[in-house]
Structures are given as C-alpha cells and as structure tokens.
Symmetry: C2
Amino acid sequence: MRDDSGVIQTFADRFLAVRERVGPLVWGLDPSAEILCEWGLGDNPDGLDRFVDIVVDVATDTVGLVKPQSAFYERHGWRGIRSLTRLCADARSAGLLVILDAKRGDVGSTNEAYAEAYLGKDAPIEADALTVHPYLGLAAMGSLFRRAHEAGSCLLVVTRSSNHEGRGVQAAETRPGVTVEVDLLCQIGQLNAELAPGRIGPVGAVIGPREWETPLDLVSPHGIYLAPGVGAQGATVDDVVRVFAACPDRVMPSASRLLLSHGPDPEALRDGVSWLADEFRSRLMATGTDSEC
Amino acid sequence: MRDDSGVIQTFADRFLAVRERVGPLVWGLDPSAEILCEWGLGDNPDGLDRFVDIVVDVATDTVGLVKPQSAFYERHGWRGIRSLTRLCADARSAGLLVILDAKRGDVGSTNEAYAEAYLGKDAPIEADALTVHPYLGLAAMGSLFRRAHEAGSCLLVVTRSSNHEGRGVQAAETRPGVTVEVDLLCQIGQLNAELAPGRIGPVGAVIGPREWETPLDLVSPHGIYLAPGVGAQGATVDDVVRVFAACPDRVMPSASRLLLSHGPDPEALRDGVSWLADEFRSRLMATGTDSEC
C-alpha cells in the first residue's frame, strides 16, 4: 500500500498508526454456525452477508484491525468467499487492516499461487496480512515473502499456536536443544534482516499467549506478532501482557468468540469490543513500557 | 457415499474399485498462470472454466482420480472457487474420485468448519478426500476425522512432503529417535485402529516418493497414501515403486505439470495421461506384488 506521495507503506508502519489511534486489538470475525444462528441471521450465504454488514460497520468505530478466519467463509462455498471478498474490500476501504487467517502453506509453485491470491493490489482478495503454516518449510515460501515485502503486506507464520494439541510438532527438536518454534523464529529474524535491515520486517509470527516449557526470544526476529485465543480459548489480557513483555509495541492480540458473543445488537457489540480494545490499549500502551526492539 | 443398497462405501473401497478399473494414477489439476496461457485459454476466470471443461472430459476416459490444488482456483477469487465447485461436482458425477489438495488445518473449532466445507453430502464443495497439514496437531482434528469416517471420505495428513524444504520440521524429533513424521504415522495408525478396526481406515497420509534419512513403516498405519510430485518435482515411477514396495496396493501416485504439459489438445492430453496411467498400472499392479498390509 502506498501513501499519498507514492511511497510503499509497510504493514509495520500501518499497524503502528492504527495502534496509536485505537490500540492493538484485532477483532476475529469467525461467523460459525452457532453465531449466525444466535444472531438470528440464518446459517446460509445470505446470513453471512448480513453478518459482514454488521461487523464491518461496528469494527470501523472500535478497532484498527479485523481477522476473518477463512474456514467460516469457505463453509458457505463460493458464495461465502464472495462475502469474504466484500468484507476484506469494505474493511480496507474503511481504513481497517485485514489479517486473513487462512494458514496456507505448500511447495514453492503452489505458494506462488497463494501469494497471487491474497497479497498485493492485483490479488482478488487483498489482505494486509496473511497467516501461513510452516510444515512444508519457510524456504519454500520465497514468493510469499517477496510479494509481501513488495506490496507492504505481512506474512504471519504460525509458530506457537494457541492450542495445546500443537505442542508435539512445535516443540519437537530440529537439533539438540533447539525446538521447531525456536528455529522458525531464528529463520524469521534472518529473513527480516535481509528484507528490511534495521527495521521491523514483513515476516511476523503467530504466537499463542501462553507459556510453555521453552521460552522464546521475541525481540531478535524484528517481526510483528499475532496473539490469538484471547477469551474463548482461555487466554487473558494478563497473559498477553506477560508473554509479550519484551515487545509490547509489536503484539496484535486477537479475540473472536468473546467479542461476537455481545452481538447481534450493534450498540452492545460496539460496547463489548470497545471495552476490550480500551483494556489492551491501556495495558500494552502504558507510558514507558514500549520497547525499542 | 452410499452404494445402491444404502451402505456407506469407504474411500478405501472406492479407491480399490477405480484402481482395479483404470489403475492408481491421480491426475493433479493445477491450472497455473503458465498452463492457462500456454493452453491459450487466458489467465482469468473464464479461462479457468474452459480448463475445467477440458480436463474433466479427458480425465473421465483415462484415470480414476483427480486432485485439484486449491491455490490455483483461489487465485481467481470467488469465481475460481465456483469453477472448483463445478470441477468437483462434474468429476464425481462422472465416477472419478476427487482429492482436494488444500492442506487445511487449524484449532478444533476451525477444523470443524473445514470439515463442513469439504466433507460429506451437505458440503458446498464435496471431496472424496482432503489433504490437511498437522502443524496444529492431529488431536485438534477430531471433527475432521469423525466426519470423514461417517461420510466415507478420507483425510490425507501431509506427513513427508515432496519438497526438501520441509525436512526441518518433518524430521525434527518429538522424543529421542522419533521424528515428527514417524510420530504422525503412529498416531494415524491409532486413529484407524479406533475408527475402522482390522480394515483400511479413513486417515491416510501424504508421503513424497523420495527416500530420506529415516525409513518409514508404511504398513502399520493401515491408511491410503498420496504420493505427489511425480514428474516436474523430480520423482519417477521407479521412486514410487521403491518407496511403497511394502504396500503397492495402497499408494496413489500423483502427477500434475508433467501431464498438463501435453495439453491443450484433448487427444494429445489423453495419450499423455493414459501412458502414465498404464505405466503405474503395470508397475504397481503386477501379479503377486500386492501386499495384504
């Protein structure tokens, strides 16, 4: 994305700007069957379209970032993807940053197709950031990283997920004493050093706000972090503050079901989202706590 | 899927039937920008739709299984997903088995949404088999496994991918001497033993037909294997025969770019696909080589 003078603005620049304005909270837009029914919209493509109208309108006043989870749109087939397309375009037009939570990842030629699908101005569904999974290796993601860098977008590599079932793979050792997640953060640091020396780079990570056996160095990778799972998945504001104590200015905490449970009344939804946005704003942006990392 | 008497037919049953009829080759349907241009169709949703018409028609005469790679449809946005939907429906109506190569995987509630999107008769895009990635843990995939079992579909867990960049994560050790990929095959065996005791179960694996440092026990998991990467990614028919020597009756070798390079002329395409189908049929189905595993 370019600013008024035609210079590419990085995702990190845009995140810092919206953070300054409304705080770092990401609103997860997960229209499950339960939510569509509870809201009285109907679990069908029309109901999904009405969900999109409501949440984009409320998000514009309350948060700086939204995170649609692709699965909940895919379950309505191509009509659901059409709603997701509109959500992304309308949200970005309203000045929101869109993190598409799709956890894509494959061999190199396929990753190039995913890059074309979601990153840059020619993408049919343009997102500001895209989540990817690293099971087939970060070294196969060259086209995703390049395109994110060129477009001023961000790749968020799922490194430590918010669920305990992921520990088996994520805490496995690539060599004695070095876990998969530690190794990934190291690779992310190298990528950012190459792509954006001395600055926050285009490759970030998804880090669930929970503490496990291995401490992580979140300063050296010079990336932005998505911290999902606040609320329904058990993580609290305190957990986010503690886990990201070394770089509170680079964490994007995300809550989905907790916030959607306030709907469908727009005023109640607005109040619920604003409350959590204010909470993160005050806890992560208190004077003097910002790191220089 | 039910047979004429209303009994659920498993994916393994259906695979064995098409294998008997035309052999085990899977035709990978990856309409990259290069292929759409080389074929003179245009790299746009209309070109993609014409691609679907051509390949479904040719596949019906030549192979038993097709494997669309979701990324190449996603790069045309919702219209591309509409083409993918039609591809899956038309191919299944013509008696082909459809393996949707999407490598989805997430936390439990999101995996339930993916299950609803792609498995079972109410899914908007129903596939016979779906590839998934295990980075967030197989234990988070209960709803995917249950739905696949109930619908007679198959989950193919990417375990050892066809690209070397995946070795870092896949060969990491979950405990001394046990790699991630070995541990996954063990979990798959346990799942199949629970869901389909004494039979080939609904959980299979993606195993690239290459030999690495760790040998794999492909007999005990009692699953079906997808072996991608024949041709353009460097694997040969010999590689497939060697890597799956212990269970030649349960491997589905897949080629994409190699076969699409014969198009767009339907006759040339038919000849090219038939040649490789015959090759695998004769090499993997020679009398006496089938295992009982």
